[in-house]
Symmetry: D2
Subunit: 93 residues, 4 copies
């Protein structure tokens, strides 16, 4: 089971909202809306995408990583290492 | 005319690719794909969104801001100030 | 004990390197070095600061959060929540 | 002359404040302050570094890029291209 199982509907809802925003940006570009208005939307979209990533990360730490640590051993260490790599990728994006 | 007029098709193509990626992430979540695989995709999506923003910004500087500066006066200063605000928003996202 | 206890010397070394870079940027500005060369250095400095943050975060997850989870209970949940907040702040910076 | 010539003292002042923050983080680590308190400071420091970068960028656009565009020709295009690269680096950091 994925770590976000309990929030699956929330995650899907926020992803659908992000998809609607991307389509809205397409419509703006198709209608030649001024660059800066498009960019403002792209910034807002990026912030929503980050929030979605933070939710997924929180679920991953709360479920998958927590379970692995509770079981202990090398698997736990590996899970924390993997999580850090994912966090590093998000910080650098 | 918008600053991205000459690259309109490229911008729309990259936005459609971003939309396809968002839908792909939705499918992954619907199919309970492992959190970290979802997050890797969200990071890649964020990077593509940033590239799209940089293209729009480059077009804005090359066209709108350049034209305003060539005309000179206070309008030019205002345009540069607006562009900086948009850049600051992207850096902080 | 702090989570970074084992890597304290490494963390201090990377912070001293960051301090040296900040002083170098000051010297560049004092000597009127070209804006873009200063900005390139500021970007590199920002990337080093992010790496330092990722190291601290990894230590925090590996030590503090792992210990709290091994002990279990509400304290564990609180620790994960706190870590997520810190991660969200870093992602948004 | 560098684009930040008029704000040189402000830029130096904010860089000195950033240096003081880096030294403060060092002191916190030397005194084994809790990881998350250190990370909160590192996030604040990163935000201040970004503000400093935005100031330098604004000066660069307002002075160097504006002058090059006013003179016109290929040099202007090259200047805008260089500025975009610097912005892209800051966005990705």
């Amino acid at each position: 089971m994925a770590g976000y199982a309990e929030h699956k509907e929330d995650v899907l809802r926020s992803l659908r909202r992000i998809e609607a925003q991307v389509r809205d940006v397409q419509r703006m570009v198709a209608e030649d809306v001024h660059c800066l208005d498009v960019l403002t939307r792209v910034s807002a979209l990026g912030a929503d995408l980050q929030s979605c990533a933070v939710t997924l990360l929180d679920d991953h730490l709360t479920c998958c990583v927590t379970e692995a640590i509770a079981e202990g051993g090398d698997a736990a260490k590996a899970k924390v290492g993997e999580a850090t790599l994912a966090i590093a990728r998000l910080i650098r994006t």
